[in-house]
């Protein structure tokens, strides 16, 4: 990493120590958390595997851990590997046949959409255990202490800030690793022309499955952290079509082809929603999402590469322009 990046990172890490209020800190935590999840989505999204089913992985992560804690007194630290295993199994069950039988494009998007709906409906249908649409709160371990490592519950926002900061950095590292791997190049070739790629010996199913696993597991971790941080989950906020589309749009708005794109997308969408809500207020119900939806449409039409993608492209063009010889 260059010097500038280290300084930038140090500034972000030190920011809360400067005596920031709880609300801005809360926003930063949510930004980093969703940035991590969007980055996870974009790892496979940028390779032409547009999944509308990531709500399923988020929901499995959140609910496995909370259910384990509430009903079996299973520490979230043990629930986490369990959730990861369940997510991996789910990703394998849906991914292997999809890639084996070459379900791509619209079909892939709609099959994965069905998956996220299945998870949402199962959570609602098991309402005796999960609380149904009303959602569920992990049993609190904060009655006597302000934090409990065993229950993965911390009342201090500062702790959560550093946790999600580290997780987000790991997410960016994973992105970089995938970006620089042969698998990424192979998958890009596959996304262009699957038959040709297979004919020169690329194992399409295995490559796609690998990147899907990485992406699904990251989303699952995001779901676990979200549940433990918010201490409340409901089927609508962690699974189903709504949250799945939100992930897709966050990643697209920021730019899913560049490393920090999904992060920019998360910051942008969250700040937009919060900003609109603060400036307009709760009185006019729905105005903030109206503007949000409108902007999403405009983004996809006029700026399909996203904010950061377009900015980098413009910057590169300006820097290179004088050197290009006229054709």
């Amino acid at each position: 990493m260059s010097m500038a990046r280290w300084i930038g990172l140090a500034l972000v890490a030190a920011a809360p120590l400067a005596g920031m209020g709880d609300y801005p800190l809360h926003l930063i935590i949510l930004c980093l958390l969703w940035a991590f999840v969007y980055t996870g989505w974009a790892i496979m999204g940028r390779l032409a595997m547009v999944s509308l089913g990531h709500g399923a992985f988020l929901g499995v992560g959140a609910y496995v851990v909370v259910m384990g804690w509430n009903h079996f007194h299973l520490s979230p630290w043990l629930g986490l590997p369990l959730a990861l295993a369940a997510t991996a199994l789910l990703a394998l069950l849906i991914g292997y046949p999809c890639f084996r039988f070459r379900i791509v494009g619209h079909y892939f998007a709609l099959v994965t959409l069905a998956l996220s709906e299945v998870v949402r409906l199962i959570i609602i249908a098991l309402r005796d255990y999960t609380g149904g649409s009303l959602g569920v709160t992990p049993k609190t371990a904060l009655a006597k202490a302000s934090w409990s490592l065993y229950a993965m519950q911390f009342s201090s926002k500062l702790v959560w800030f550093y946790v999600v900061l580290v997780v987000w950095l790991i997410g960016l590292w994973v992105w970089t690793r995938v970006d620089r791997s042969m698998a990424r190049l192979a998958l890009e070739a596959i996304s262009q022309e699957e038959d040709a790629a297979a004919s020169i010996g690329m194992s399409v199913t295995r490559l796609k499955l690998g990147v899907t696993m990485v992406s699904a597991l990251m989303t699952c971790v995001g779901g676990v952290l979200y549940a433990q941080y918010q201490l409340y989950v409901s089927p609508e906020t962690v699974s189903g079509i709504g949250i799945s589309l939100q992930m897709v749009f966050g990643a697209i708005a920021g730019g899913m082809f560049v490393r920090l794109g999904p992060t920019v997308g998360a910051v942008f969408t969250l700040m937009l929603a919060e900003g609109l809500r603060l400036s307009i207020g709760h009185d006019i119900h729905g105005l903030d999402t109206t503007i949000y939806g409108l902007m999403l449409v405009l983004f996809i039409i006029f700026m399909p590469k996203g904010i950061l993608g377009a900015a980098i492209e413009a910057y590169d063009k300006r820097r290179r322009a004088p050197r290009v010889a006229p054709a």
Binding site: Y107, L110, L121, H285
Partner: protein, 289 residues
């Protein structure tokens, strides 16, 4: 045992009636996909807007119900054409997945606009139709009307596509988009027309659904996903396949919901869908690959 059978029979019949509605929903989406090659993720939200239009026309401005229905169909048809011109047309040349996502943005937008304009309260047009008693069975008249109207709508579309000049042009475009402009057909006009037609079908569905369900801004989410599943199971763009798939799905929901809770009916239907995708990825009428 006798009682049990009657209730099961009722579930099966309700499933058939529900199948009619699902088939109508799928028809509009299939028509659009077959011709324009775009999936309107926001299709169910157009229906939601249509349902609100019936409510406002009938209950607030006291139009007669028939007029309100007509207005609804025309309004949603106009919305469909507008959607194509404003949103789909600019991305027709882009990646196919962008076309799907842009309508996802419209989904958010329409839902939010409905919340903004109509509020989050549940609304009901307050027209309650009696249940018919046939033998020992109770059959909802609203569902029967919906089933009949859905079949009628489908026959009308079929005749339009097969018997008129414009219908021939639509079918031709769906078969070969490159050649038709050379034959003197303006594809753009056909696209707008097809979108309006798809919108009109959504409007008809809205009229039928408003008789049975309360209206709220998120109602689209409750039958949007199932509509996509029906279309994909039947083979995107394959209208006959969609018709058959609608009835299969409806039986899963209705009979599954009879044996277990309603959500489990949906869960079964979705799981069946995912399973079928691996057996016949091109839809039930498509060839096995």
């Amino acid at each position: 045992m006798q009682i049990f059978d009657i209730f099961l029979l009722e579930a099966v019949i309700n499933g058939i009636l529900l199948g009619g509605i699902l088939a109508l929903l799928a028809l509009g989406l299939n028509l659009i996909f077959g011709v324009i090659d775009v999936v309107w993720i926001c299709y169910a939200e157009l229906i939601m807007i249509g349902m609100y239009s019936v409510y406002y026309a009938h209950n607030v401005y006291h139009w007669p119900l028939a007029l309100a229905f007509l207005g609804c169909i025309l309004l949603v048809a106009a919305l469909g054409a507008l959607l194509h011109v404003l949103v789909i047309k600019p991305v027709l040349g882009a990646e196919p997945i962008n076309q799907l996502l842009v309508t996802g943005g419209v989904l958010f937008f329409l839902q939010a606009v409905a919340t903004l304009a109509f509020g989050v309260e549940f609304k009901n047009i307050g027209v309650s139709l009696p249940a018919l008693q046939v033998g020992g069975l109770y059959i909802s008249l609203a569902r029967l009307i919906a089933f009949g109207a859905a079949l009628g709508g489908m026959v009308a579309i079929y005749l339009l596509l097969k018997r008129t000049y414009i219908g021939t042009a639509i079918r031709a475009i769906s078969q070969d988009r490159a050649i038709m402009p050379l034959m003197g057909v303006n594809p753009n006009r056909i696209f707008v027309l097809t979108s309006a037609l798809g919108g009109a079908l959504a409007g008809l569905a809205a009229c039928l659904l408003v008789l049975q369900y309360d209206i709220h801004p998120a109602i689209g989410l409750s039958f949007g996903p199932i509509t996509f599943m029906v279309c994909v199971l039947g083979g995107l763009g394959n209208m006959v396949g969609g018709f058959i798939a609608a009835f299969i799905f409806a039986q899963f929901i209705s009979v599954g919901g009879y044996f277990l809770a309603l959500e489990w009916g949906y869960v079964l239907a979705f799981l069946f869908f995912i399973g079928m995708m691996f057996w016949r990825p091109r839809g039930i009428l498509g060839g096995k690959r």
